[in-house]
Point group: C2
Chain length 218, copies 2
């Protein structure tokens, strides 16, 4: 029988070199929430030419995603092996989140692969999407579709692999399982789905326009 | 030490209930190749209004994908647990392919999750993409982008998870590792990447058109 000296599930998980977090959990969660809210506000402020408040929030969403994918998930993608002993702020954020999914402190193959693509592809592309909406660039809805589909597919596989593993990696406490694992990740099912439908509508309208035989210059 | 009575790697893999294939490997590979070629020819024949041969092949590609995702990967998604003892044609096709990646005979969590999404989402959407090109529907390039990005991301994760597992699941024989595993799956990196760029160009051109301020009716 393995001695349990860490807060992760399953309780018999072996985690050599684990060091307890210095910060309380609410500070880790609060730091991420504050950074996210700050990016959303910055995105809103920078996008003052956009009249529709929904579009303005949608553009801000991509700045939030750029920050989360690029910084938080970027950190995970390069430092996942050292996380159990990490007591820096970003390391402790991941060790707090890992109570809801211990695959983050064991360098689980799928989790590392998916997070690496998220950090290095969807992160920069989220930032490009934000910039493309600021400048009304013609690529804006194509980028919105690419990023949102990437996020949705990654998230579906994230839930599906954990379902197949029998939901064994989360502390069953409602804060960890329901709030952190289900609700937080559920946001990346709901919002990208809505943005895929939105991009679909805009791109189909543009293509219908483009296909008209009697249009000037075509 | 496990006794090895199957052809899969790693050689010490335990596979209770395994039954040898009745058909030789070339019949399994030949059946899939013939079905794929038949679908490509059918797609070409049905799309006689398309003047560009490249576009005509591209549309046929989506009919091939609909068949592979819907039938072959659909079979895997519902029958993966029974594969080791399966001696039907589709079962033997998978048991032959599993020499190149034994995750297919062990119901590996990521493989089952990814293949299930591929079968039930990218399969029907591939067929819709084919139909949308036949009818020049305004959704055709949006569908091409969605299917191709889904295939590319799934395939990247497929290679990345196996890389993280140390390439341990393939028979090192060149036919299995290089031809089946690398080249065959590599096709779904190369073709979808080209089709993503193609869809990007078409959709951006349509959006640029749509955004023009002086256009009639807008």
């Amino acid at each position: 029988m393995e001695t349990t000296t860490h807060p992760y599930w399953p309780r018999n998980l072996s985690l050599p070199g684990y060091v307890s977090n210095v910060r309380p959990g609410w500070q880790c969660a609060g730091a991420v929430a504050a950074a996210g809210a700050g990016l959303l506000a910055l995105g809103w402020a920078l996008n003052r030419n956009e009249r529709s408040p929904v579009r303005r929030v949608a553009a801000g969403w991509f700045l939030v995603c750029a920050g989360i994918h690029g910084v938080l998930e970027g950190y995970f993608s390069v430092r996942h092996r050292e996380l159990p002993a990490d007591t820096g702020l970003l390391g402790e954020v991941w060790k707090e989140y890992a109570k809801a999914d211990s695959r983050y402190v064991t360098s689980d193959d799928f989790t590392v692969a998916m997070e690496t693509v998220t950090a290095w592809a969807w992160g920069p592309l989220s930032f490009l999407t934000f910039v493309s909406f600021l400048s009304r660039h013609r690529s804006r809805f194509v980028l919105q579709l690419i990023v949102s589909l990437g996020q949705l597919y990654g998230d579906v596989l994230y839930f599906a692999t954990e379902a197949r593993a029998g939901w064994t990696h989360s502390d069953p406490h409602p804060l960890y399982f329901w709030v952190y694992f289900v609700v937080l990740n559920g946001v990346w099912l709901v919002v990208p789905s809505a943005l895929i439908i939105d991009a679909w509508n805009h791109l189909c309208a543009a293509q219908r326009d483009h296909d008209r035989p009697h249009k000037k210059g075509h």
